[in-house]
Symmetry: C2
Subunit: 255 residues, 2 copies
């Protein structure tokens, strides 16, 4: 059975896209067949794996709102076992367009049920809690929550947990929090360290042991259209995502 993960946090710039594509790449590297669904109108996940945003057809908007068959819209990446459903700018209009539809939260779930024989599907969410993110959470088995090691990013985590519980109660009782990943950790900063201890104290086992350090190679990779894991395998950024993927797989066995 395909395992579907959402990577979500309404706080902007915390590493959702970076976590989505690097986890997906690490799982593809161990020959799991993985699909990245880009649900962010900006299409950062699409660009980060070397694909192009599409307009009008064969994209995550035409699949989930327009009813196109997902298998006709998925494209291969240069990375074996890794596929992507590209984003489209048209996703911007979803909140208003689907506001009156019947069960607007389940459009994506229906579309993903058609996707054949993937081991994992990762959905990259936009920085908001609108209908796009609600569709992602309603369609998912699990959620991974990136939290940047900075004070402003802490404020929104409790809100996000409440939103996830609301979706779980009303639309998707199977939904579980797979884990919280602390990103852009700066070992020289006391604030960064105190944020890590606060989050671990508050959320306990839900927090992955792997900390993702702030690493200058990470923001360089998207300009080459490849995940940092391929751009600079030995970098601290890549190595931390490899460790995180191992931790994700370990939890999968325990679930």
């Amino acid at each position: 059975k395909t395992r579907i993960f959402s990577v979500s946090n309404q706080k902007g710039g915390v590493g959702k896209t970076t976590t989505t594509i690097n986890l997906a790449t690490a799982l593809a590297a161990v020959e799991k067949k993985v699909l990245v669904v880009d649900l962010d109108p900006q299409g950062n996940a699409t660009v980060s794996v070397g694909a192009k945003r599409r307009l009008g057809s064969k994209n995550s908007y035409t699949v989930f709102v327009g009813g196109e068959n997902i298998n006709d819209c998925i494209c291969k990446t240069d990375i074996p076992y890794l596929y992507v459903l590209p984003a489209s700018k048209e996703l911007l209009g979803v909140d208003i367009e689907l506001a009156d539809a019947e069960k607007p939260q389940f459009f994506l779930k229906k579309a993903l049920e058609q996707a054949q024989d993937f081991d994992y599907i990762f959905i990259d969410c936009p920085p908001a809690v609108g209908l796009l993110t609600m569709n992602a959470l309603a369609a998912s088995d699990c959620v991974i929550i990136p939290v940047q090691c900075e004070y402003l990013a802490l404020e929104g985590v409790a809100d996000l947990m409440k939103t996830i519980n609301k979706i779980k109660k009303n639309f998707n009782p199977e939904l579980r929090i797979h884990g919280i990943v602390l990103t852009m950790f700066d070992g020289r900063s006391n604030l960064s360290k105190s944020i890590v201890s606060d989050v671990k104290e508050f959320f306990g086992d839900q927090v992955y042991d792997t900390l993702i350090p702030r690493n200058v190679r990470i923001p360089e990779a998207p300009s080459h259209g490849i995940p940092v894991m391929l751009y600079d395998y030995k970098s601290a950024g890549s190595q931390s995502y490899i460790r995180l993927a191992a931790e994700v797989l370990k939890r999968e066995r325990e679930f």
Copy 2:
């Protein structure tokens, strides 16, 4: 006449809140009466000036959707001449709630017309292009666009310009782009430098000369509830925002 600025970019984590509160503080320091309107449900601007998010009344949601008189909801900050209209979680529901309302784009404009004798109003926008941001743009004289010096942040700027032009054409012909501010510039990174030259080449004079450097004192300030300008006046972060404020005032005289 009150000058109203929106600080907007749908890309997350690019420095919208940081730019809003530090520009507002710099103008308050030269005795302009300034109001920060926090339109982001996360309330980062509210927290960054030492106030608290409010629920149920006297917040940016009850003012712009509920029709409360803005003058009853504004609170002083510890900084002379600086006031804030706190955010509320209830802002999350605006897209769906106002979808059927008449002229949903003008709710904020009507509410801000009541705000008395401010020299400047700065609206901190969430990382999205939904009804909250549309209300902010429809109510504003000018927009300031923070762009992080990283590759993924470039992708969305052209989209944002299109959105601004759409709002200008359909809802607010006076709206102008005041400027683009490049943030989190890292002088050691070639990518950062090439992003600066790309943005300057593409957008020319619209780009402010002042570059905001990546500076570790900036993310520390919100945990103390004060803008970096007061937290560490001599830091590179503060000094760059003071220079930016001077540039903003210079452009104001030229407009």
